[in-house]
Symmetry: C2
Subunit: 150 residues, 2 copies
């Protein structure tokens, strides 16, 4: 019987014992703003990972797509997500499914932090950034253009 | 580009749009009490699933073990978990990792509902219940015996 320390209590405002506060991704590898990453579960026994991303007011994740899917639960505050060509206002504890090869981005509102849990396969492909042509295509919708320009 | 309805808003107190409130497991298949299950994400693209389990005050999950691991985030209230021989008080949003083949059980307190998210592989083995000898072994620890008898 394994009697190790299986429990990580929350240690304050959206932080967990023994969980490091990480950069969202490598600086200047892609566009993003004011967003951090905590890896809540990453164990070989699981096959998948659970991460917590949090943005400061006005922050946003990278607009990207990839072959792997995301299962997202909004965990703190409210924000807007783009999934494919569709914009949605989302609030905790709402759920967002991001299908394979679908452009997506999350943005915080201007006045409060915005956090979400993201479940993902441990083995996954690298995100792709949109080409100028793909970005132009997305921005044909004025609402999406306004969201991406914000 | 997929433009389907990717978002499921929360529709009240720990319920989600389009997510069915299910029995925890088949009646009389195993011991448990006052616990429900909602499947938040179960998609072939993901390889893993995210479920939300909720117990009424005094409720408990089955004492069981299996080859697959669980990644748990306490989501509502507080309760006690047994993982291996170790008892822990857990409160939202604490994290619990349940390694393979490790006896585990969650119990709500007497005075409030207790809910947790559980991430698990889509392909997994069936839970095993303890034999009388295994139960006796677990109950050699008086604290564990009191927990299991509660």
């Amino acid at each position: 019987m394994d009697e190790g320390p299986h429990v990580r209590q929350a240690s304050g405002s959206f932080r967990w014992e023994g969980v490091e506060l990480l950069a969202y991704k490598e600086e200047s590898s892609a566009p993003f703003k004011a967003i951090t990453r905590q890896i809540l579960f990453q164990r070989p026994e699981l096959g998948c990972e659970l991460r917590y991303f949090e943005m400061q007011p006005g922050g946003y994740s990278t607009l990207e797509r990839h072959e792997h899917a995301h299962a997202v639960m909004i965990f703190r505050g409210r924000g807007t997500c783009l999934v494919g060509g569709q914009l949605s206002e989302v609030t905790a504890p709402g759920l967002v499914f991001i299908p394979p090869m679908t452009w997506h981005q999350f943005r915080a509102t201007a006045n409060e932090p915005f956090g979400f849990l993201c479940m993902v396969n441990a083995e996954r492909d690298k995100p792709q950034l949109p080409s100028k042509a793909e970005l132009r295509e997305l921005m044909k919708d004025p609402a999406v253009a306004a969201f991406l320009d914000a």
